[in-house]
């Protein structure tokens, strides 16, 4: 999360791919990088628009927020390491630009700018206002633990009273909503009528759709499985203990008893098939329709062969 937003000069992917080009309909997109400065161009064959890239969103796949004539745009194409190369930005595949000026990307107003920078940077939004001056790229301590900077300053003077609240004390539902501020909460997805495979990106929404989700049970919170301070662990077996905390007769044993809340059932049904690599079956990997990004579906379930993607 620390690399959710980068500034020019800190972009190894584009440094290694100094010239990227893709043709989409009548338009040709080019991203060129010289001496750590990248430019984004779109051409219709007779005219070309070129803008410098100031904001690089994403640590793997990259999308750029572009500025032109006082307006901001989400770049129409993004860089996907899986290709590796350029293709339409996820979610923008259906845009139909009417001219070269529109082909640069999707214009984003101030509310959406606040959302983009509010999640991909820290201290970018203060009391609802976008403040580029205070922005720090990526997700820093202050992003989740508001007041951390003050606390650090106070601690130099042996004053520890300003410590930010301990997020671990929140309920699983609250933690889902907290993480969902960026990863999209259940109600955000429902309220916005987002449906289909694109929602696999919104883990709190998918998790809450799981039959086993219990907002009062700490064994199913985001932080029960993920440590937000380190990179996400991608080895399926590493999550087995988290699943077995509920889905094993042994879950009543000492190892998990400590975290089993009195309001939660001691354990759920155990799997008749296996006791390892649980997520490989019950949390399938789903490719987005563009085929360039794969996410783990957090809607935990018994997956039946050939079943449609459950909303």
């Amino acid at each position: 999360m620390g690399r959710a937003l980068a500034l020019p000069g800190a972009n190894p992917a584009l440094r290694n791919e100094p010239k990227l080009t893709v043709r989409k309909g009548p338009y040709t997109y080019t991203v060129e990088t010289h001496e750590d400065q990248s430019t984004y161009s779109v051409s219709d064959g007779t005219r070309t628009i070129t803008v410098p890239i100031h904001w690089y969103f994403g640590a793997g796949a990259q999308t750029w927020v572009l500025e032109r004539d006082g307006h901001r745009y989400e770049s129409a194409v993004s860089y996907y390491p899986s290709i590796p190369g350029l293709d339409f930005t996820t979610g923008d595949e259906d845009l139909k630009p009417r001219n070269l000026d529109e082909a640069i990307g999707r214009e984003i107003g101030m509310p959406e700018t606040r959302v983009c920078f509010g999640c991909h940077a820290s201290t970018a939004v203060n009391k609802g206002k976008m403040t580029f001056e205070s922005l720090r790229p990526g997700v820093t301590c202050e992003h989740c633990h508001a007041g951390t900077n003050t606390h650090l300053a106070d601690s130099i003077n042996d004053d520890f009273d300003s410590a930010p609240p301990d997020l671990r004390k929140r309920s699983s539902e609250d933690i889902s909503n907290f993480c969902g501020q960026c990863h999209r909460s259940w109600e955000t997805v429902v309220r916005n009528h987002w449906r289909g495979e694109l929602t696999v990106r919104f883990q709190p929404y998918r998790l809450a759709n799981s039959k086993c989700f219990d907002g009062g049970d700490p064994r199913i919170s985001c932080i029960a499985c993920h440590d937000p301070h380190v990179d996400v662990v991608r080895q399926d077996s590493s999550y087995d203990a988290k699943c077995l905390a509920c889905h094993s007769p042994a879950s009543t044993a000492a190892s998990s008893a400590a975290i089993v809340s009195s309001i939660s059932p001691p354990h759920a049904k155990s799997c008749p098939t296996a006791q390892s690599d649980c997520v490989s079956c019950h949390m399938p990997k789903v490719k987005l329709p563009n085929g360039h990004l794969t996410f783990t579906d957090h809607q935990i379930r018994i997956v039946k062969p050939g079943e449609p993607f459950p909303n």
Binding site: G91, R106, G109, M110, P111, E112, G128, K129, S171, S172, E173, D174, N177, F178, Q181, W186, E187, V190, R191, N192, H193, W194, R195, L198, T199, R201, A208, N209, K211, F213, D214, G215, G216, D217, S261, I263, S264, N311
Partner: protein, 400 residues
Amino acid sequence: MFVVDAVNTGMETVYGRRLGIRGKRHSAFSFTLLILAFTILVFFSRVCSAQANPASFSDVAAKAAAARDANDVPSAIELYQQALKLNSQWSDGWWFLGSLQYSVGDYAAASNALTHYLELTPNAAPALAVRGLCEFENAEYGKSLSDIQRALALGAANQPHNEKILRYHEALLLTRTGRFEDALRSYAFFTHENDANPELLLAIGLAGLRTPLLPKELKADQQELYMNAGNAAFDFMKGDKEAAHLEFQHLFQRVPPVPNAHYLYGFLLYASDPDEAVIEFEKEREANPSNTAAEVMLAWIPLLQNDGSEALPYAQKAAAEDPTLPSAQLVLGRALSETGDTKNGIEHLEKTAQLQPDNLEVHLALAKAYSKSGRKEDARRERLLCLEMTKNDTAPATHP
């Protein structure tokens, strides 16, 4: 077919009067197609087999169909009534009778016939839609809204023209029943085609200025004010925010001040610019301290920003001012739940759910509150209900 022509005329009457659509005959054709398709389906379906006197019933039913084909509406109505006396389980007969009665403006009788039809054929979207329109004409606004919304959910808006008719009536009814914000959301549908006309603007103005009336119920000397408010809201919703800003400034300068004018502007602004919206809601409260709806919005904005503590004082004030206002109970329930008092929060939310069972926001809040308090099954039930309520809302509200 006569039934189609007759129904067509009826739809033109309703829709033409409400929306002032140009080229009514052509545009009414699509709704006609819906009824035609449905009629053909009914025509080819089997006539009920259980008949006390098959020969007599068949004879009357055949005569009724012939009269209908001959455009002899009064005779056809009488013959269908006779046939249905012989066989009240003849669902097709009730549909034809209801359609014919609707076409001649006998809305009470049409509604009654369609009720019989729906008892025999539940979930028939066209019948629900036409019955809803009958109930609208009969001033049975609650029933009408319920039928039209059910018809929409069942796919009655299968043609653009049908959708216009039903959405427009839905919005009128939402306004008439005091659900002004929902009405404005419904009116947003009409901004896509930029098809404004004075009656539509007047209707939007009524919703915007929170006046639970139909356009025909408004006094003539008030129409200009409401039309101006509707025009400002329409321009905002279609994306011309500069024009809307100027029109709202003119509205704000009127003497005496227009109740709910700042509220309307704030409501339109809050999705894109919550800070500006807060200013407008505060101005509304200054001008009209008893405007509880503005106080509700002052609570709602921080709630959407996950700031229950900021929302709670506004929510408490709103609920104290007007305990019967469902939205005040909603914000209070949600604010309490999000600041740790889940038990009381749920109580307020459940009360709101009883008052407004089809309000999505209430069920979203209940799902969250139940989940927080460990009521897993209740939370799941509410979540499934929310997904069911939104399953036909296919167009994303914002870019994902």
